[in-house]
């Protein structure tokens, strides 16, 4: 497993191999209920057929199994799951193919909510959030990108727009008002 993958996956596979026996103390019985609260309403309905894993484009690249994460959620294996969900691209292919009409992507989004609130925040999330309050987008503006866009006949990204700074200010106010800055830990970057 590459370094980058480890950052993304948080070592679900390794930890599962290490723990030979899972005792009850490791289980969080309210975990499924918590996931449902954050929108993953289908978590307990899953039949474990594995169709979602098979169609997942991420699973082609790295060791990531949608079905397995859902099973861990059903079981209450919180500590295994909270690092894994960032890799989901929310392409909803799993939802499209699920024979039981369930939505695993929603479970992944719910897991992100829970992880953030537990303080498990990967560095790239912080970077993206900082970019958002600084530049109004999650990717940092880059002269190289502008050059390519010009070549393709596209407009320049609106950093020079007269309203640009006003918009950035509004974003800052919103981020602060919703306490998103505190949640992610970027209070210092926000000017509200």
């Amino acid at each position: 497993m590459g370094e980058a993958e480890k950052t993304f996956i948080g070592g679900l596979h390794e930890e599962l191999v290490e723990d030979k026996v899972i005792d009850e103390a490791q289980l969080d019985p309210d975990f499924a209920e918590q996931i449902r609260k954050y929108g993953g309403k289908d978590v307990m309905t899953c039949l474990q057929c594995g169709n979602c894993t098979g169609v997942c484009p991420i699973s082609l690249r790295i060791d990531y199994k949608t079905r397995n994460i859902i099973k861990c959620c059903q079981f209450g294996l919180k500590k295994y799951t909270l690092g894994t969900q960032w890799v989901c691209a929310t392409c909803y292919r799993c939802y499209e193919h699920c024979p039981a009409d369930l939505n695993p992507a929603e479970v992944m989004i719910a897991l992100r909510h829970i992880a953030i609130r537990e303080g498990i925040i990967p560095p790239f999330i912080k970077t993206a959030a900082t970019n958002l309050v600084k530049y109004g987008q999650s990717v940092k503006p880059d002269p190289e990108i502008d050059r390519v866009r010009k070549e393709l006949g596209l407009e320049k990204i609106g950093t020079e727009h007269p309203e640009y700074h006003k918009v950035i200010r509004e974003i800052n106010v919103l981020v602060h008002a919703t306490k998103y800055d505190k949640l992610i830990g970027i209070q210092d970057e926000v000017k509200a």
Partner: protein, 695 residues
């Protein structure tokens, strides 16, 4: 809405004698049932009883642990005799369950059985309000107060009898229809069996072997088919369709269209000389496109009746007016291209619907690429390919190159257990037929590798688990738990790669197979959908025909005199279909043996003086019971055919003239109930008001 005063209801046509009778105060007995703890666990039955005792007209109120038990019924009889009770209120379960029990009970004590009113304090009270005991007790009291008010207005009714024609119609000639027809024929009843195809036999005739015992399907079915054709009591109407059914239990008028075969059935001896000379070759539907037949054909060698049929779509004569080679070849002058459809009118007493199933057809743009890849086939196609009398003589081949496949995969739950497709149910047979077909393939070609992709294996029947065990032990068939995500074809070898998560291994696998078999589920047949409309039968949410009660009336339908058997009711294997067919035959035989049937008097009746013959009720009635007739004093009047009427009350509620009365649900009775209900609400309101004033 203002409730008219009860005395205005004088329009109810009751004889003056009955009126004088009802002027005396009724003597009502109330019996509150504990139903073990079902009711008593929530409702305070003692309190309910004491309140009921004090209601006007109530002379006796009792409570019982189980009112439906012998002890409970004896108490009712005792009360009727000792306290001269003339109307009975039983507060217990739903009338659907025990109304007949208590009617018989009070009849035994000398009362008219329709002087009973049941108050449902179980399904509609204790079961649904199990968390609010006090409120449930209040509700039970209210319901009983309403029941007593209605019971006071009950009138005696007489059940009527209608004659039953001892003839039965069986629709569908699959194994279920054949069995039902044979059983009824053997009991001595005249039976008509209508089948849309040129031959009876249904889907079972297409199968190779049957699980779990491995009997050859056609070998065990063909003797039954022949027996049916030769049976003196059974008339077989093959290549025919039921067009119209009118009437009611005991007296159905059925119109059957016998489609033109263009061959006289009485002259054709099934020699096949005609087919030998026919120049047209088309795909045989019976072999699902793998074999071919001529334009004049029998679908399969064991067909019953063994009479040839001209396929009008493909016959040269119908296109050009020429050819007629078959006519020249026939030594019996049996072929007649000028034949016309014939409509036969039948009079039958009972009807058995055994219209079977269709297999699920994979979607055109589906994941499993059934329409794109040659080597992806359905299980029914596999049945034809491994069948000794099939197009390949029992040799399994790959459709792409005709070579025997070395690696075969089965994919389970295609078109069943799939909420996206709307087929939420399990088709019950796919696990076992896949296992059985794996066994057949291994017996033919022992060096074949077989993998079965499954979600859950359901081997629930007699001998099923043993077969599942044997297939693993003897043939080393591999079971892979996982639903395949993607199928792709190798353009050179035409073999199929299946990508799936092997969920028990927690690994994604990609494996190559020469042949992929989709274990398609069962769904309601087109014939079932059509017949449901013709007979006004209801369907379950899954689309199959609905039985009258899922446990206690599994072969009856909501329509009296119409029964269902086989896969028309839901997916089933052959033993279950046969068992249900036998059950349907015995249910249908009961009224035919008796030659008469008792019809509930809870029907609608029309007051001719008020009816203006507008016909609104005729349009609204779901059972076709009201009809327009010439009134005795002239003019169009509505008459209700009582045997067809189910007493639903739709007509009475809609009649602008209030000319229709539904017995035991008269306006008078319903308004009394409503008044009793409003009294309760009022007193509760007052109580609230006083409480508010005090505070």
């Amino acid at each position: 809405m203002t409730a008219p005063a009860p005395q205005e209801k004088g329009t109810t046509p009751t004889s003056s004698k009955e009126e004088t009778k009802s002027t005396a105060r009724p003597r009502i007995g109330v019996f509150v049932c504990h139903c073990g703890s079902n009711i008593a666990g929530v409702v305070d039955c003692g309190k309910v009883r004491t309140i009921a005792e004090k209601l006007g007209d109530v002379v006796v109120a009792k409570e019982n642990k189980y009112t439906c038990s012998d002890l409970g019924q004896e108490e009712i009889i005792k009360a009727i005799k000792e306290n001269k009770v003339d109307k009975v209120v039983v507060a217990a379960c739903s009338p659907r369950l025990h109304e007949p029990t208590f009617r018989k009970c009070i009849q035994h004590a000398g009362l008219n059985p329709y002087l009973l009113h049941m108050v449902n304090i179980r399904e509609q009270c204790s079961w649904v309000h199990s968390h609010e005991k006090e409120k449930a007790t209040d509700k039970a009291t209210d319901l009983i107060r309403m029941g007593v008010a209605k019971a006071a207005k009950l009138e005696p009714l007489e059940a009527r009898e209608v004659p039953v024609e001892p003839t039965s119609l069986v629709i569908g000639g699959g194994v279920a229809g054949i069995q039902a027809a044979l059983d009824l024929g053997n009991m001595g009843f005249k039976v008509y069996l209508v089948e849309t195809q040129p031959s009876i036999g249904g889907k079972m005739a297409q199968l190779d072997k049957t699980f779990p015992t491995g009997d050859c399907a056609i070998c065990i079915l063909a003797p039954k088919m022949v027996e049916l054709a030769r049976h003196p009591n059974i008339t077989l109407l093959s290549y025919s369709e039921v067009e119209e059914v009118k009437g009611y239990i005991g007296n159905y008028d059925v119109k059957v269209r016998c489609k033109a075969r263009f061959v006289h059935e009485d002259k054709c001896v099934g020699c096949g000389l005609c087919a030998e000379v026919c120049p047209i070759k088309v795909d045989n539907e019976f072999d699902l496109g793998f074999g071919q037949r001529r334009a004049i054909y029998v679908p399969f060698p064991q067909a019953v009746p063994l009479k040839y049929t001209v396929d009008k779509e493909n016959c040269t004569h119908f296109k050009t007016g020429k050819c007629l080679l078959c006519v020249k070849a026939c030594t019996n002058q049996a072929i007649d291209h000028k034949m016309q459809d014939e409509v036969v009118n039948l009079k039958v007493g009972t009807i058995i619907v055994a219209t079977g199933y269709d297999t699920y057809e994979p979607k055109k743009k589906g994941v499993y690429k059934y329409w794109e890849y040659d080597n992806v086939i359905t299980a029914l196609e596999l049945e034809r390919l491994v069948n000794a009398s099939g197009p390949t003589g029992g040799h399994l081949i790959r459709p792409s190159d005709g070579k025997p496949p070395k690696r075969v995969a089965f994919i389970q739950c295609v078109g069943s257990r799939n909420i996206k497709l709307g087929n939420n149910y399990c088709s019950r047979v796919c696990c076992m037929y896949a296992i059985k077909n794996a066994q057949i393939i291994m017996e033919h070609e022992p060096d074949t590798e077989i993998a079965i992709y499954y979600n859950d294996i359901r081997a629930f029947g007699k001998g099923f688990e043993e077969l599942y065990h044997r297939i693993r032990e003897e043939y080393q068939v591999e079971f892979i738990r996982g639903r395949p995500a993607k199928l792709s074809e190798n353009p050179d070898t035409k073999s199929i790669t299946i990508r799936a998560e092997e969920t028990l291994l927690n690994k994604i696998t990609e494996r190559d197979f020469d042949l992929v078999v989709l274990s398609v589920g069962l769904q309601p047949s087109e014939g079932s959908k059509k017949i449901a409309k013709t007979l006004s039968l209801t369907t379950s949410p899954d689309g199959f025909l609905a039985e009258a009660h899922p446990k206690l009336r599994p072969v009856d339908t909501a329509m009296d005199g119409i029964y269902i058997a086989g896969c028309a009711q839901g997916p089933k294997d052959i033993p279950d279909s046969v068992a249900q067919a036998k059950a349907a035959a015995s249910s249908a035989a009961a009224p035919m043996f008796a030659r008469k049937v008792t019809v509930e008097p809870l029907t609608a009746m029309v007051n001719e003086d008020l009816c203006v013959g507008c016909g609104l009720c005729i349009e609204l009635c779901p059972y076709g019971a009201p009809e327009l007739v010439q009134g005795s004093k002239g003019g169009n009047k509505v008459h209700v055919i009582e045997a067809l009427c189910h007493g639903c009350g739709t007509c009475a509620a809609s009649c602008p003239q209030k000319a229709i009365i539904t017995r035991q649900f008269t306006d008078d009775q319903i308004y009394s109930e409503l008044q009793a209900a409003l009294q309760t609400t009022k007193s509760a309101d007052n109580k609230k008001k006083t409480e508010a004033e005090v505070s």
